[in-house]
C-alpha cells in the first residue's frame, strides 16, 4: 500500500518536473518567427518525456527507450510520414489532397500485381508505380487549375477514382507477394526490411524524403513559389509567377510520394491490397497540422511535419505499450490534434 503511494507521488513529481521543463522551453524566444517554428518540437519533447514517464519497464529499463522500440516507431510512422511530406507541399500552397490514401492503395496493388502477375523486376516496377503516382497528382492538378475547381472536391473525386482503379488492377482482392521460385525478386523485399540489425529501410526513405523536401522548399525557386502561392495566390499571379505550374508541381510531388509510400506499404506487408490505406489522408493532414503548418497556406515547415508525424507515432506507441484500448487511442488522437493547434495559436 505504502509502496504504491510513494510510486505514485514519484511519478507525479517526475511529471511536474518535465512539465516545467517543457514550459520554460516553450517560453524561450529566439526571435518572433523562430518561436513558432520551435513549437512542434516543444510538443515533441513533451510527448517524448511523457512517454518516458509512462513507459512500462522490463528488468529496470524503460521499454520505450529501447533502441529496438525507437527504430520501430520510425518504421511504423514512415508510410504516413511520407504521405505527410507530400501533403505539406499541397497545404503550403493553399490546397488539400484527399486522394493520397487511395493513391497509396493503388500503388501498393499495382506493385504487387506487376511483381507477381506481370513478372516484372524491381526497377521496372518502381519506375512504373512512381510514374503512376505522379500521374494521379498531375491529373488532380490539371482538373483543379483548368477546371477551376477547389482541390478539396477534385481530390475527393480522385480518392474514389484511385481506389476504384486499384480494385480494377487486382480484380478486387489483395495480391500476396511471395518470394523465391516464380515470385518477386528479393530486392523488393529489401524495401520493407532492415539495414543491419536495427535500421528499418522505410524509416531511411522517410527521413530522406523529409530532407529532400526541406531542400526543395527552402533552397529552390519552386519552393519559394509554393509559399507565395499559399500566402497570396492573386499577388503571386500578378507578380508574373505561373501559379498553375506551381500547383501542378505540388500535386505531382504529393502523388509521387503517395506512390512511394504505397510501394513501402506493399513491401512491408508482403501484399498489395486495394482496400488498404483508408483514411490515411486524414492522418497525413493531422501530422501536417500538428507540425504547425497552417491549413490556409503559406506558413509552415516540413520539419514541423516530421515532428508532427513523430508525435502521433510516439503516442500510439506508448499507448500500445501500456495496452490501452485501440478505441481510446483514436479518441486521444482527436484530442491531440485540437490541442496541438490550440498550442500553436498562442
Amino acid at each position: 500500500m505504502k509502496k504504491a503511494e510513494t510510486k505514485e507521488t514519484e511519478t507525479k513529481r517526475r511529471m511536474q518536473r518535465l512539465k516545467s521543463l517543457a514550459a520554460t522551453l516553450g517560453e524561450r524566444r529566439i526571435g518572433r518567427v523562430k518561436l513558432g517554428r520551435l513549437k512542434p518540437f516543444v510538443g515533441l519533447v513533451a510527448v517524448f518525456a511523457l512517454a518516458c514517464v509512462f513507459s512500462p519497464s522490463r528488468r529496470g529499463e524503460m521499454i520505450f527507450l529501447g533502441a529496438g522500440n525507437l527504430t520501430d516507431i520510425l518504421r511504423q510512422v514512415s508510410e504516413k510520414g511520407i504521405l505527410a511530406v507530400g501533403m505539406t507541399f499541397v497545404i503550403l500552397a493553399g490546397g488539400i489532397d484527399l486522394s493520397v490514401g487511395s493513391a497509396l492503395a493503388f500503388a501498393a496493388t499495382l506493385s504487387s500485381v506487376m511483381l507477381m502477375r506481370g513478372g516484372y523486376g524491381t526497377p521496372e516496377t518502381l519506375l512504373a508505380v512512381l510514374a503512376a503516382g505522379l500521374l494521379i497528382g498531375a491529373v488532380n492538378a490539371i482538373v483543379i487549375t483548368k477546371g477551376r475547381i477547389q482541390s478539396f472536391i477534385v481530390t475527393l473525386a480522385m480518392m474514389s477514382g484511385a481506389r476504384g482503379l486499384a480494385r480494377l488492377v487486382s480484380g478486387g482482392s489483395g495480391v500476396e507477394i511471395g518470394y523465391g521460385e516464380g515470385g518477386a525478386p528479393p530486392s523488393f523485399a529489401a524495401l520493407g526490411g532492415k539495414l543491419g540489425a536495427l535500421v528499418p529501410v522505410p524509416a531511411i526513405i522517410f527521413l530522406a524524403a523529409v530532407a529532400a523536401a526541406w531542400i526543395v522548399l527552402n533552397k529552390t525557386r519552386f519552393g519559394r513559389y509554393v509559399h507565395a502561392v499559399g500566402s497570396n495566390e492573386t499577388a503571386t499571379r500578378l507578380s508574373g509567377v505561373n501559379v498553375n505550374a506551381v500547383k501542378f508541381g505540388v500535386f505531382s510531388i504529393c502523388g509521387l510520394l503517395a506512390a512511394l509510400a504505397g510501394i513501402i506499404h506493399s513491401a512491408q506487408l508482403e501484399q498489395g491490397n486495394p482496400n488498404d490505406g483508408v483514411a490515411y489522408e486524414l492522418d497525413a493532414i493531422a501530422a501536417v497540422v500538428i507540425g504547425g503548418t497552417s491549413l490556409s497556406g503559406g506558413a509552415g515547415t516540413v520539419v514541423g511535419t516530421l515532428a508532427g508525424t513523430l508525435i502521433i507515432g510516439i503516442i500510439n506507441n506508448i499507448l500500445g505499450l501500456n495496452n490501452v484500448d485501440a478505441n481510446v487511442q483514436l479518441l486521444l488522437k482527436g484530442v491531440i490534434i485540437v490541442g496541438a493547434v490550440l498550442l500553436q495559436r498562442k
Binding site: 497570396n232 495566390e233 499577388a235 500578378l238 507578380s239
Partner: protein
Amino acid sequence: MAYLLEARNIGKRFPGVVALDGVNLGVRGGSVHAVVGENGAGKSTLMKILSGVYRADTGAILLDGKAVEFASPRAAEKAGVVIIHQELNLVPALSVAENIFLGREPSRFGFVDRRRMERDAEALLDRLGRRLDPRRAVESLKVSDQQVVEIAKALSLNARALIMDEPTTALAADDVERLFGVINTLTGAGAAVIYISHKMDELFRIADEFTTLRDGKWIGHRAASETTPGELARMMVGREVSYKREREDGGRRNVELLRVENLSSRGIDATRATRATRATRATRATRATRANGRRRLSDISFSLRAGEVLGVAGLMGAGRTELLESLFGVHGTTGESRIVMGGQPLIINDPRQAIKAGLALVPEDRKAQGLALNLDVGSNITLARLERFSRFGFLRRESEERVAREYVERLGIKTPDTRAATVNLSGGNQQKVALAKWLLTGPKALLLDEPTKGIDIKGKTEIYRLIEELAASGLGVILVSSELPELLALSDRIIVLREGRLAGALERSEATEERIIELATMGNKEGGNEEGGNEGDGNKAAHAAA
C-alpha cells in the same frame, strides 16, 4: 417644418483621424436629402452613426425632435432608421419572402408560417409597385430587383428614414427610373430618404435638399432649387495638400512609351479576379454585385510619354482599376483594342506578358493583391524577378539578400531586416515593398492604383517623392487616385474616366478639381443614353457569369 431625423454637431474620432467634426444634417419626412462629398469626406461614417453601426463621440441624434441613442443597427431599425448598403445584405439562396422576414419569420405553433410570410411579402412588394414572386430565390433576381427586396425589407421594419448608399452604381438606366419610382412612392407615404451618390445628374432629379461634407466637416446645406452642380462641386473640393511638387513642369521627354488605342474590355470574368478568395454561398451575393459593379471599358485611347506622370481620375466604379488591369493582362480586351509599346504592338493576355513588355502594376489592395504578407520582406521584393536569383532552380540567397537589402535602403523601407514578416510593416512601408518588387523588374511603365490608400501623411509624402524620382529617371507612370489634390500635384496630364469611357483629358495647366469633378460626374448628354445601354450589357453579362 420639423425634421424627422436630425443629426446635430456630430463628431467622431478614430485612432489617429478625426472622421467627423461638427456635422449637421436635418432630414424632413416626405423628402429626399442627398449627402455629397468626395471619397473620404465622411459620408459613410455619418450614415453608420445614423444607423447605429457606430456611436458618435459628440453631438446628438434626434428622431421626431427627441434625442435617441442607437446601441446597434438593430436598435436603429426598431426606431425606423434603416440603411441599405451598396453591397446588398441578402442571403442569395433564400427566397424573396425569406429574405424580407429573415430573423422575424411569422410563425404558427413554432413553425414558420410560410403562407402568411409570402402573402405579407407580396403586399409589401405591391406597395413598392414591383410584382416579384416571393418564392423566388434572391440570387436569381437581377440587382435592381434585389434592391427592391432590400427596400421591402426596410418597409417591413416600418422604416421611416431610409438611408441609401450609392444605390444606382450597379443599375442600368431603366432600372434607375424604376428605383426613382419606388423612392417617390416612399416619400409620398411620408418617409424620409437619405441618398448618397456621386452622380450629379441623378441627384438633381431625385433630391430635394443637399448637404455637403468635406474632410469630415459640414460645409453647407442647399435646397435643390437654389443650387447648381457647379456650386456643389466647388463646395466638395478645396482640400489642401501640403505636398510640393519637385519636378519642373515640362520635364517629361517627348518619347512615346505606351499608346493605347480603342481599348475595350471583353466580358469580364469575375471568377478569375476573385478566384483566390474561397467562395462560400454567403459571399456569392457580394461577389455578384461586385461583378455587376465592375465596369466594362469602351473605346479608351491615350498615350504615355517617358518621364511623365499620367493621372487617371474618375469616380468609384468609373473603370480606373479595370483600365490598369486590362493593360496588365488581368482582363481580356476586344480585338479592336491596341496597345503599342515602343512602336511595337503588344498582345497582353497574362500578367507575365505584361511584365515581359516592361509594365508593372502596383494594385490598389495590398493585402489581397499586392503582397504575400506571410512571406518575409526580402521574398516579396524578389518575387517578380526570382529567376535572377536562381541557378538551375536553386536560390542564390546571398545575392538575393544583397539586392533586397539594397532596395530596402534605397526606398527607405523601415524593417528590422529583410527576413522580417511583411505583415508586421506599416502600410506605407508595405507599399514601398510592393514598389521595390516592381522596380526590381526594371519596368518602363509603372501602373499605380491608389498608391497612398490607407497610408499616413508622412508615408504619403515619401511615396510622392519616390514617384517623382522615378518619373524624373525616365519611367512613365500611370497614377490612379481618388485623391484629387494628390493627382493634381503629381500629374503632368490627367485623363478622366466616366462609366468606362474617356470623359476628357486635361493638361496640367488646365486641370483643377472643379474641372475634373465636372468631367467625372456630368459627361455630355448624348453619351448618357449610350452609357446606360452599355451598363445594361454589363449587367446581363454579370448575371450570366453568376
